[in-house]
Symmetry: C2
Subunit: 462 residues, 2 copies
Amino acid sequence: MTTRPTPPPGEFLYLLAGDEDDFTNACADLLPVDIAESLNDLPVEAAVKVAARLPFHIAVEVFDEPSLERRDELVELLPDEVAIPLIQAMSADQQVRLFRSLKEADRARLLHVLDAPTRDQLRLLMSYPPQSAGGLMTTEFVSVPESWNARQVRQYISQVGDAKETVYAIYVLAEKTQKLLRVLSLREVVIADPETLVMEIGEGRKPISTRPFTDREEVARIISKYNLLAIPVLDDGGHVLGIVTVDDVIDALISEQTEDVQKMGGMEALDEPYMQIALGSMVKKRAGWLCALFLGEMLTATAMGHFEHEIEKAVVLAVFLPLIISSGGNSGSQATSLIIRAMALKEVTLIDWWRVAAREFPAGLALGTILGVIGFLRIALWQSLGLYDYGAHHWLVGLTVGISLIGVVLFGSLAGSMLPFVLRRIGFDPASASAPFVATLVDVTGLIIYFSVALMILRPGG
Amino acid sequence: MTTRPTPPPGEFLYLLAGDEDDFTNACADLLPVDIAESLNDLPVEAAVKVAARLPFHIAVEVFDEPSLERRDELVELLPDEVAIPLIQAMSADQQVRLFRSLKEADRARLLHVLDAPTRDQLRLLMSYPPQSAGGLMTTEFVSVPESWNARQVRQYISQVGDAKETVYAIYVLAEKTQKLLRVLSLREVVIADPETLVMEIGEGRKPISTRPFTDREEVARIISKYNLLAIPVLDDGGHVLGIVTVDDVIDALISEQTEDVQKMGGMEALDEPYMQIALGSMVKKRAGWLCALFLGEMLTATAMGHFEHEIEKAVVLAVFLPLIISSGGNSGSQATSLIIRAMALKEVTLIDWWRVAAREFPAGLALGTILGVIGFLRIALWQSLGLYDYGAHHWLVGLTVGISLIGVVLFGSLAGSMLPFVLRRIGFDPASASAPFVATLVDVTGLIIYFSVALMILRPGG
């Protein structure tokens, strides 16, 4: 009972062979999202055949599902007499997503055959960036004039409710200017006395709204803060361009976070499910960052070259090198992920950089001291237990490792926490400050710190 | 207009000095969430004074805000004659959150003075884990008997609507058994003809529901898949225990993802905003993992010890060590973050491990070959340009580096992609497979691969 199982993909092919009524009945029992997922599992040619036989009102709901994959291919393969009414009936936000994914030629051709109002609206919506409020919004919302009363609104909704993306938020517009005056919830309208004027309903607060170019993450933050079911998108004059609904925001939140996790793993966002993306595209998306990191990390070879002479004199130094530079990377990665998340949640903004640095300095010092003491004790213990011989100067080796760890962890924490600020300042996504990126930054510095400490402590040569 | 600015915290203190009416008027103009955020910025003693003077219906809304911090302290400091009616009036899910955060003694005392139905309900809800559907749900939902018609439902909602968490989903129960038969949306009820029986309204599909012990991530996935505004939580007998609403799910999604990002950064989840957590607690939460990783990374020192002799003979090998082991860590971190996210989105489940391995093998081989070729060319170029002298066997050094990179990147991709499966299999959160964790795993293996290749190629000694 928890969730409904998706019907096996074969079922549709089987039903196609049966008569029209069987097929229609089977469809009526399924939710559009489940039909969409079954279509995803079919080869595209079979999916087109099924889509073409779906009753029209169900086909519209299926094509309105964000989870329907290859929507562009399906539309291209469907005969125009099926495809065009289907597109016209889709909701505006899903039309936009479809048209964005169509090939240039198909887009032009299909735009041309749509009716004029749909076409104009589509052109307007496509002019906004896909990850902005304008790119997410739909234009099917319920608006009523300020002179109406609750009874009129209820009557109106019972007539037009089916065609609107949501009826749970009702937008009251000024009669002359068409500016947004008030937002009512359907709950308030249902509870109100039938003769109450809309301007008297509810608490009469100024509506919470957003602008078309606001980023989808910010829209999600406002919707979640104020527990809204939809937010109006206003132009400079205060007119409602469209609304963004809570379900689009959840989808946006989930894709935003997939992107962030992948960026934090040190790669481009895949934009496709892992099991579905072609191997070649995946390697391409991973190779870019991997090569960039590799080239950055080559600096360690250059730096090491300068210390070759010291390593020759005290090979024991090389033994602790991976341990020390990785500790810098790890502390940097902790600091970075903390700050990236705090930035995403707006707990921290650009101007807070020095407050963050003021926290990371003592934190890094404390963490470095803990690791430094453990590192020193490890060397002392192994030496005294006879597990390994670090040579005549083993106390000095221990001291070098301990002091280097303090320096490296402190530097890692500071560099890791400041990197997201630098990235945001120069216009990049702070989530690109991946653990591998931080580690690469910190590795070179880490080994310079280590060998410099060694030179000071072990001079004149171990 | 975009969002409302939070009033400066001082404003409330100023208003406290003014007369009662001024204060009440100022509050009426603000949204509860904004009042809550202003209270967060005040010292707790001042916040209590303001809270005690808020008109009762506003105070209830403010205390119902998940973003109100120190709710436990405020309730403890408020006089009981204010606190108790306030708690009684809060919504059930927020009461649970409040009681979970109260000190043991206060919890027992306050439970004792609440009225019996509230107390029993609270005890039931607190028996579910906080991150489950049962822990998130509220018991204030609209249920109607199967014999009613649309008019009766509309009338009922206009009477009780104010007291319910949401009225947008209406639950139709069987008259005798009280089992859930149908879920209607308020939209369907408003659109329906007044005399239509509730069982005739809508499309009559089986309701989508969840169980009390289902994890909040799974609840979020169902709500997002089916675009629900609320989901009923059913017991074994099919009775509605409560409902989880979409706004709670958004909050849950956001905290779940904060946890994941922090775990992926190689640390425990902070559970508090970065700028607010005490420095000591933060160091404690970071030190645990950092020390664990440090101890794991100590294996590199042990492994290096075994190769000290080889390094002595060819110090040039040490020069490329950081480059090679970091490449393994980077490719592992990419693979891990891809799989963690694919698992969170249910694109990949436990049984898919071999399908993932079958993708990561060629991907890792391709990526390793790309880096191997770059590494070899780098050495050849530096040598021929006279930038660095890698000794008489420089071609063999180049070959060693190139071949090791293929092995290390391949191993990194495989290990990184399999780690989340292993963690989930043994009952841990796959998001704990942080980039630092993977890097630590891969570093030891990476250097063993590197020195083994060197031994084969450069034998009998460089």
